[in-house]
Amino acid sequence: MSYCVNCGVQLDRTARRCPLCNTPILNPKETVDTTSPTPYPKEKGQVDQVKHTDLAILLFSVLGSTSAACGLINFFVVDKSSWSLYIIGVCFMLWVFFIPAVLSTKLPIYVFLLLDGIAVAVYCFLISLNTPSRVWFLELAVPITATITLLVIIFAFLIRNVHASILSGAIYLFTEIGILTVSLECFIRSFLHMEFAMTWSAIVLICCVCIDIVLITIITRSRLREAVRRRMHI
């Protein structure tokens, strides 16, 4: 029978420390019993994960059969334009979008966002197969999709890891809108072989910067923040 010198409670023969205060048990007359079973089991149970296997199969078969049917009709009913590519592309895109919801994998969310971006790009590529020129795909679709994907990933990272509140979320959002409009104008101008200049995007950028400055001031001034919270509380 060992007692904790600190708490005065009796402890189990198998205990090495007092559960209440973490004091190690030193009883020269009775060493810790390591053979008897402990009061509670040692093995930890695993929490089962729900597998939406049925849903995954259903989704896959619905989307798969739709694309297959359209492809076959397009192939057999002779038709010069390959319109079925649009539908196959949409099905593929939807399938990629639903992966994280259906399969509970341990991959980080950024991987899924990246895959979503790639899926959109692939869809654009399928559309470009039906258009006379493919320049727009390389010079507009790819850079724009890449920029948006990157911005969304950065936004997700900031919200998850840096600071998540409505105000800071708004700052991230407006900054990214500014960046996006500027890069949009760049891409469009280079596509049209125009000289680089900022016209309409500059207006949006200035607005975003102004909003950001206001928001940053509100965040850093705690009294101002409290006032906003009081007046805007929901």
Binding site: G8, C18, P19, Y40, E43, K44
Partner: protein
């Protein structure tokens, strides 16, 4: 064969509405949280899992409201009989009261575990409260002992498995008794909240104290209080000390959320939920309370509130929402959202800890010599804190704390106060480093 088919058909037609307080628990369901509690019995000999499984299979048909699966309706959830194989007896785990997904485990909302001499029964709170679960635990245990060749009579918590389930056992007793003209408000002041380091997903820290019932009874009597009042006061005392040690900028009242078994006040044989919450409170902003003063406060609070009038008003407030025709036709997902918001923003914040006392458990004559003691656990707390569950059997009284935080200060203050009062306490834990 034909008879069996007919019986199956009949079973398929029955379904149960969730009882009044059961409606809350499924809405609180998260990936890492379920309202699951555990009742355990420690036998004198090592458990034979095969026989235990046999006893479970024999017993469960007697309890139709436990052999169910939960389903979503358009407006409310409901329970429907579950005829899938199981539930199976499994080896116990250290982090028990794990979250319970409604779609896994063959959709059963109960779990059965064995470890050495201990048999444990886990139940989702949407099926029954602790007293309801105790019927299942004891009936299974009695049948297990019978399979071992012992003679155990029916009675008390042991139901006759050859009998059919009675209608009164599956009733929603709240609706029958909620008749008060008064409806007290639901919201109260925010209480002190224990702050601690949250354990990683998924850990449950249990610290249990085993004491002598007569020793506690003597001490409580010496103070002029009952066992429940005394232990309530000790926990309040521990929480006040903890708040003081935290050195908060603003002190808050220390409150316990304590379920009351309404069967004591409103006769009912229901095996489902029939409890309501009371909140013994000490406000340290009024000044420093001595232990005796806390005990007096708790003593008179209980005497004042624990009567059919006050409790009826309490359950009428809850029944009013269930009866309100506008609320009834609101789609389930909106109800879920509002209930969850209300619970996590208001209800959960108005108590510092949970405390439940099931009191003295009795077993049919002849069964007590095979049982060493009972243990009950409130399960994983909804927010970071510790919950305390008390039960006694013969001269053994156990107090089990279940917490989701690393620190064990509250438990330490609690048991140290008991030791100071001259009570012999033996501590057991599932913490891996101890």
């Amino acid at each position: 064969m034909k008879k069996k088919e007919k019986k199956n058909l009949q079973q398929k037609e029955t379904w149960y509405k969730l009882d009044l307080s059961a409606n809350v628990y499924p809405t609180l369901q998260r990936k890492n949280f379920s309202s699951v509690y555990r009742l355990s019995v420690l036998l004198k000999e090592k458990i034979n899992p095969k026989l235990l499984q046999e006893a479970v299979d024999m017993t469960l048909p007697r309890f139709p409201t436990f052999k169910v699966a939960i389903h979503k309706g358009l407006f409310w959830r409901y329970l429907a009989p579950n005829n899938r194989p199981g539930p199976y007896v499994q080896k116990d785990v250290a982090n028990f009261c794990m979250p319970m997904n409604f779609k896994l485990n063959n959709r059963y909302l109960i779990r059965l575990y064995y470890y050495e001499r201990r048999f444990s029964f886990e139940c989702h709170h949407s099926l029954a409260d602790g007293s309801g679960g105790m019927f299942v635990l004891q009936t299974i245990t009695a049948n297990y002992l019978r399979l071992l060749g012992h003679k155990i009579p029916n009675g008390g918590f042991v139901l006759d498995i050859n009998e059919k389930s009675k209608k009164e056992e599956t009733e929603d007793a709240y609706l029958r008794y909620a008749t008060s003209k008064m409806r007290p408000p639901r919201t109260q002041e925010k209480a002190y909240r224990v702050r601690g380091t949250v354990e990683p997903f998924y850990t449950l820290n249990v610290i249990g104290g085993i004491m002598s019932t007569s020793e506690i009874h003597k001490k409580a009597k010496w103070y002029g209080a009952s066992i429940t009042e005394y232990l309530n006061a000790v926990l309040l005392y521990a929480l006040i000390q903890k708040q003081k040690a935290d050195r908060p900028i603003k002190e808050r009242p220390v409150k316990l959320a304590m379920p009351v078994n309404l069967r004591r006040f409103f006769p009912s044989q229901t095996l489902r939920n029939f409890i309501t919450m009371i909140y013994p409170t000490i406000d340290p902003r009024l000044g420093d309370y001595k232990f005796e003063e806390i005990l007096t406060q708790v003593h008179f609070y209980m005497r004042y509130y624990l009567n059919d009038k006050f409790l009826n008003a309490d359950i009428t407030t809850n029944a009013a929402t269930r009866r309100n025709p506008v609320i009834r036709i609101v789609p389930l997902f909106i109800k879920d959202f509002t209930v969850k918001q209300f619970y996590s923003r208001v209800q959960d914040k108005q108590s510092s800890a949970g405390l439940t006392n099931m009191g003295a458990i009795t077993v049919p004559p002849g069964m007590e010599k095979y049982i060493e003691r009972f243990d009950i656990y409130m399960g994983q707390p909804y927010s970071a804190r510790t919950n305390c569950a008390i039960v006694s059997f013969g001269d053994t009284l156990t107090v089990n704390f279940a917490s989701s935080i690393v620190e064990s200060d509250v438990e330490q203050y609690f048991f140290r106060k008991l030791v100071e009062d001259g009570i012999h306490v033996k501590i057991e834990t599932n913490r891996s480093h101890c």
